[in-house]
């Protein structure tokens, strides 16, 4: 096996597509809990710093979102109190809370997705759908850092002839900034022509263009894809039969625990924990390698 980063972009995309899709779909408290747990664990594994610092503003935001719901929605049967003659129901509170957990999970899953799906993997995937647009994005990505550098150079040059966007009246600053953008665009467009020539000189525009990548779909990719597909299939079937359905309004449905629901929960748990298992196995592998060598 290999670490998460090394999997083929298609496998990575497929996994996150399935997990984020199901997370947005399920409102069942147990399934919500599983996804939330998985999202937090994976985030701690692969993007600990970013994750922890994002909690600062995410948690209060979600807390507010959760308490706003009962103020707007008055559905539900268990009435706790009245505010302005409007009922505040337990169902609405719980629903608001569940909703926040769901949104948080989605945000965390996306965070991990962004960490693993680097720009070259993303472009590879996009290239499978539309090579010309992928090339367009790739060119754009190459130009962005170039432009930042050039903006710096232009700003310095402009400052020495009295067009400094950091000093002077507001109008002077705006005018100076507009001059800098204007110079940048001239420069960028005229130089782009040479880049286009370089593309044509290397045969861009010939028929039957192929796409090359360093990514290889190997056995580990195959195994993981099969596992994801099977677990996804179980999830689809259970959705079809409504085994994972849970209603908040008019009042809560009961959480049944029987053979079927256990299968639903365990298979979902397996799906969610898949990347964490992969990462754990990696850690163990390297530890034993270190001991042996």
């Amino acid at each position: 096996m290999k670490s998460l980063h090394q999997y083929h972009p298609i496998v990575i995309f497929f996994y996150f597509f399935v997990v984020i899709g199901l997370t947005m779909f399920y409102m069942h408290p147990v399934l919500l809990g599983i996804s939330f747990l998985g999202a937090v664990l994976l985030s701690l594994f692969i993007q600990r710093k970013k994750f922890l610092s994002s909690l600062k503003w995410l948690l209060p935001f979600m807390f507010i979102a959760a308490i706003i719901n009962p103020l707007i929605t008055h559905n539900g049967e268990i009435i706790l109190l009245y505010v302005n003659y409007q009922p505040i129901t337990l169902e609405a509170i719980v629903y608001g809370f569940s909703m926040s957990v769901m949104l948080l999970s989605v945000v965390f899953w996306f965070g991990s997705f962004n960490e693993i799906m680097t720009s070259d993997k993303f472009l590879y995937l996009f290239g499978r759908i539309s090579p010309a647009v992928a090339l367009l994005i790739s060119l754009t990505m190459r130009l962005i850092p170039l432009f930042f550098l050039q903006i710096k150079k232009i700003t310095n040059a402009q400052r020495t002839i009295g067009m400094d966007p950091t000093t002077g009246s507001l109008w002077h600053r705006i005018k100076s900034a507009a001059t800098i953008i204007s110079i940048l665009i001239s420069w960028a467009l005229e130089n782009a022509i040479e880049t286009a020539d370089s593309m044509k000189a290397r045969g861009y525009g010939l028929k039957n263009r192929s796409t090359f990548s360093l990514f290889k779909f190997d056995r580990a990719d195959g195994i993981v894809t099969t596992v994801i597909t099977c677990l996804f299939f179980v999830a689809l079937i259970s959705s079809y039969f409504g085994w994972n359905y849970f209603a908040y309004y008019p009042t809560f449905s009961t959480i049944e625990l029987n053979m079927t629901t256990w299968i639903v929960f365990i298979s979902y748990f397996a799906l969610i924990m898949l990347p964490i298992v992969i990462e754990l196995l990696e850690v163990l592998k390297w530890r034993s390698l270190k001991l042996n060598n």
Binding site: M117, S130, L136, I137, I144, F148, I181, S186, A196, K200
Partner: protein
């Protein structure tokens, strides 16, 4: 040419309504956030497809890439002022001068590229579609004389700000509720009002300031290097 038109028409009039219908019938408890995302992605495909099939000239690709990269750089440069972004203005100017298709691509690519830098999220498809469509509309308007006037630019800037806010708010509401509710939408639109105003204001400012100089430069490049001329 023909197949591309057919696929586009099929997508617009068959696939998208089908997704909507399936969504409403199957998930009657309303999972609109997923459905809307699929619809928005499907809506972008005809544009990409037509670009793909046309096998665009290298110079054309480069000009669009330059404009997209500049709008991303602009978005990053103004990261410290919330909602005050030049992306719409750059997209629109490209649309005015280079036509609806180039406008759409500049908008859509700006959205994807900037989210590669700042992180993808469920908002990516919506931004892609919204900026794309704004560029497309600018391209159609650019064929008229309206966009040569200041009033025209101001009206377009306000319209673009409102539309952007409108679509992004719908997404916020649906991502929260799963279903669409007018009460919640109005509440969201209310809280988003300062943002909507800032969007519109930044659009108007950047359009008034940049349309002329950038437009001239695009015109010059078009003429000097024969880009996107009907006969080339």
């Amino acid at each position: 040419m023909k197949t591309r038109k057919i696929i586009s028409l099929l997508l617009l009039f068959v696939a998208i309504p089908a997704v909507l219908l399936i969504g409403i019938v199957l998930f009657n408890d309303g999972k609109y956030q997923i459905i809307s995302m699929i619809v928005v992605i499907l809506a972008c495909i005809p544009f990409f497809l037509s670009f793909e099939k046309r096998r665009p000239d290298a110079r054309e690709i480069l000009v669009i890439a330059v404009m997209s990269a500049i709008s991303v750089a602009g978005r990053a440069a103004f990261a410290w002022v919330p909602a005050f972004k030049p992306v719409t203005a750059f997209t629109a100017i490209t649309g005015f001068k280079l036509g609806p298709e180039a406008g759409f691509l500049t908008g859509a690519v700006s959205a994807i590229a900037s989210n590669i830098l700042f992180g993808q999220g469920p908002w990516t498809p919506f931004q892609m579609f919204t900026w794309g469509i704004l560029g497309y509309i600018a391209g159609l308007l650019g064929k008229t004389k309206w966009m040569d006037t200041k009033i025209g630019l101001i009206l377009y800037g306000i319209f673009a700000g409102v539309l952007f806010s409108f679509i992004m708010d719908i997404w916020t509401v649906m991502s929260y509720d799963g279903a669409f509710s007018w009460a919640r939408y109005i509440a969201a639109a209310g809280t988003a009002l300062p943002f909507t105003i800032t969007y519109a204001l930044s659009n108007v400012v950047f359009l008034l300031l940049l349309t002329k100089p950038i437009g001239d430069k695009l015109e010059r490049i078009k003429k000097k290097y024969g880009i996107m001329q009907p006969n080339s």
